[in-house]
Amino acid sequence: MSTEALDPQGPKPRHWYEWERIVVYTFLILTSVYFLMPLYIVIITSFKDLDHIRDGNIFWPQFSYGEITTTDPAGNTVTAMAHWWSPWYRAMFEVCTGLECRGITPNFLNSVIITAWSVPISIAVALTTGYALSNWPFKFSEAFFTVLIVGSFIPFQVMLYPMVLLTKNMGIYSTLSCVVFVHTVFGLPILTLLFRNYFASLPVELFKAARVDGAGFWRILFQVFLPMAIPIMTVAVILQVTGIWNDFLFGVVFAGLPNYPMTVKLNNIFTSTFGIKEYNVEMAATMIAGSVPLLIYFLSGKYFIRGIAAGAVKG
């Protein structure tokens, strides 16, 4: 009847050019440029030869490759055919720190070994401790938990020296196992806290039901709780992988020269004053070092979301 019924209802539709949107997008674009610019420069620099770095524009990539000249540790000038991957090859297999010219590969492998052992061990121990603390209270479990919380606030530096003494006495100082041991110990407080709180948030009745069904300590952990712990497990893995891979302090202190992890090696390359400074190789080494955490983030992001969605505890 009335024309009003035919009029559009609700708020006026919005257009893409509304000024609020323009402001938001401008801000977002500027922020991403600001954060991506260094990465961009690192990547293109890692594919340049030294002449281009010296003479070219820092923002402009190099497209053609010719001959390059470098100086080896003995002081001889070496001429070689340049490829786009040359700096990466040098970074992996040739770059020198001191008199050792084996590239970063040995240290990359050290980091892989340290991470591959430390992450599962620390998570397994913390998982069990957290589960025991939340579901199998013993006489001093509250006190133990308090100590653990306090422990997670004490700076690592304070415990560095005692730890050196301890590992020396254990006879593992200056080995890869020593670094793994230290990472496991120092990872425990925060990880245990994480798991304890997660398990404490699950309904107690679930635990009781499993007890009535006859399941014991380990069976409840592995068959009932672990399948429900995927989200928190993902968090723990990300936390530990990035933390341990990026660790510098424990690597320097506990690993010993041949066992230095990637981060320590990278630092030594940067601070090496020997010969000319090879920015392209340094950038390539940086990218290789950073690739592992990046990869973890990209791969686990999917599982992280999936874990949260599937881990709904209700029911």
């Binding site: 309904p203 009745e205 679930l206 009781k208 039901a209 499993a210 007890r211 009535v212 069904d213 006859g214 399941a215 069976r219 068959q223 009932v224 399948p227 429900m228 709904a312 505890v313 209700k314 029911g315």
Partner: protein
């Protein structure tokens, strides 16, 4: 000696159980004997220790004191799974990552039972509980009622002697609750197991129980058949807790003589010679006269002039469909009466009330005990 022989005849026997958390005493020297095949309901307000008692029976809590016998065996320190009990929880507590079938068979697999025997038992339980169509689903894909059936099934497959239920229906809506209540009763009749059932819903308690244990503050106030509890409550607490709308309590004094006692309420008297006192007639005692709303008649006209009636004024009428609840003022005290909804009353009307003395309860004003 006597305790050992006693526990032989009963399915579950609890002797002087006490449980405390620090200074807080949750169970106080509680004893309870449950014969084989009985459906016992633990009824009480929130926080009175019902779940604590059930957890002690299940072995999920260590009592600070006392003994528990199941089928004549002292199980006070026994593992939950070795006690021959199955437990059903309010929140279902199904293993969320397992299918219904694996939920049902979990306990059997833990016990290392042969595969075909497991299959047989799961099949039987799922037939009884009508959950066969959902065997391959995860708990998250089930409705609340279906989940609770699976939870019951988990106890059923283990072929236990005693079923423990901790408010199994509280999370369900009213209709489903009524349905499942009937099913639990049917299950009990079919299996004949001993069942201990915790609830704070008195309808559930009345309809399901062979006997009800009314609890308060960690001790049992009265343990009797539902109708006994309803009509002869042992004390004022039980009388007030059971029944909805709840019992009227009228402050009064016992008068007359031991042969023909009366109660006196603000100058008016009522002959109570029909009332069966437990232990003599306490003439002169201050009491509370308890009458349920359905045991009060409202009289008008000539009938209101008779003896043994109290004059009262209509205050308020609450129609409830099948009947109405009428609130009256009796002197300074308020009384509610249940009447046919066809009868109409207007607020302010002067009427008389008549009590059915044989159905009434009289409690000591001080101690609250039934006289």
């Amino acid at each position: 000696m006597s305790t050992a022989t006693k526990s032989k005849t009963s399915s579950v026997s609890i002797q002087n159980i006490a449980q405390s958390y620090g200074a807080l005493q949750v169970l106080k020297e509680l004893s309870l004997d449950i014969p084989e095949g009985e459906f016992l309901v633990l009824l009480g307000p929130s926080g009175c220790g019902k779940s604590t008692l059930l957890n002690c029976i299940a072995g999920l809590l260590e009592p600070t004191q006392g003994k528990i016998f199941i089928k004549g065996k002292n199980v006070t320190w026994e593992e939950p799974s070795k006690r021959g009990i199955g437990m059903v929880f309010q929140s279902y507590a199904l293993y969320p990552q397992m299918t219904v079938e694996r939920n049902l068979s979990f306990g059997l697999r833990v016990a290392g039972m042969a595969k075909d025997e497991i299959e047989k038992r799961v099949k039987r339980a799922s037939e009884i509980l009508q959950i066969e169509p959902y065997l391959q689903r995860k708990p998250m894909q089930l409705s609340g009622g279906q989940r609770q059936r699976v939870a019951i099934g988990r106890a059923l497959v283990r072929d236990v002697d005693v079923f423990l239920f901790d408010e199994p229906l509280s999370n369900l809506d009213a209709k489903l609750r009524a349905e499942l209540r009937v099913e639990i009763k049917r299950l009990h009749q079919r299996l004949g197991n001993t069942m201990i059932y915790v609830t704070h819903d008195q309808i559930e308690a009345m309809t399901l129980a062979d006997r009800i244990a009314v609890m308060k503050g960690g001790s049992i106030q009265q343990l009797d058949a539902p109708l006994t509890i309803y009509s002869k409550p042992k004390n004022r607490y039980v009388a007030g807790f059971i029944g909805s709308p709840s019992m009227n309590f009228i402050k009064a004094k016992i008068g007359g003589t031991a042969k023909s006692p009366t109660v006196e309420v603000s100058g008016q008297t009522l002959d109570i010679s029909q009332y069966a006192f437990i232990d003599g007639t306490p003439v002169g005692r201050e009491v509370e006269f308890g009458a349920r709303p359905e045991h009060i008649n409202i009289l008008r006209g000539a009938a209101a002039k008779g003896k043994n009636v109290f004059s009262a004024t209509i205050e308020l009428v609450e129609p409830m469909g099948s009947d109405s609840l009428v609130w009256l003022e009796l002197g300074s005290q308020k009384v509610s009466a249940r009447v046919e909804s066809s009868e109409t009353f207007t607020p302010g009307e002067k009427v008389a009330v008549q009590f059915r003395v044989d159905q009434a309860s009289i409690f000591d004003l001080q101690s609250g005990d039934r006289l």
